[in-house]
Amino acid sequence: MPIIQAQGTEEVHPDILLVNRARQGDVQAFEQLVKQYDRQVFRIAQHITQNREDAEDVVQDAFLKAYEKLEQFQGNSKFYTWLVRIAVNESLMRLRKRRTGRMVSIDEDVETEEGSMPRDLAEWRPDPEMMYGQSELAEILRKTIQGLPPGFRVVFVLRDVEGLSTEETAETLGLSVPAVKSRLLRARLQLRERLSRYFRKNEDGTK
């Protein structure tokens, strides 16, 4: 079992210490990792499966699988990234089960020109999210992101919401770095375009 130790002044990530304790049978150390990351894993699963029941199952399956496979965690990637990779795979499996016969295309490029050139060029209000109540805003954000092609949505969520690097996102999804960058930009521009109708200064876009 590779135990990661500090070399010189290099700091060991606290997760690695928890993983090592969990490997030695300390279940509370693993529970600590659960508390740290269950929200993120649930969000990712919900974004991919678009189904709350499936997302709950994914959280459970992903953490149990991570617990079982802890010995296989090499420590050359972050624990979080490793966990996300398991969660993404579990989510895709759920999605495929639910949509037997239908294409699940997070690994395919999507032929769409939408968002490749900004059309809505209106300025937004200074604090656009303050125009809506919390639950109304959450509904707008959910509806807007649900409209993205799945392959764009998952890249945006991993990269911009959950904070994985471009390289980690590419590795997690089995995509090339240029493919991640291209999808990320199109996802960002499509979301921007769609949110613009809620957040722009003027109803008709004129000054």
Partner: protein, 78 residues
Amino acid sequence: MNCSEFLAQLGDFLDNQVPTGLVGELQAHLEGCEHCVITLRTTQKTIQIYRNHEIYELPAGLRERLQAAILAKCKKGC
């Protein structure tokens, strides 16, 4: 630099990954193009809003069920 060329670099620009030599060109374009300023600003805001607002909250009881499942697994195998 025109708007399409600016847009091609927008992703890297947002992530501070534009090669140093190109930053000046992008900034020069922004100085003369209100449309690209708006696109940049509203795209930044889009990312910020999604990052700052939790749109799917952890369902009540999920953490507890998960911990119980892990404990059960542990009793069997650790």
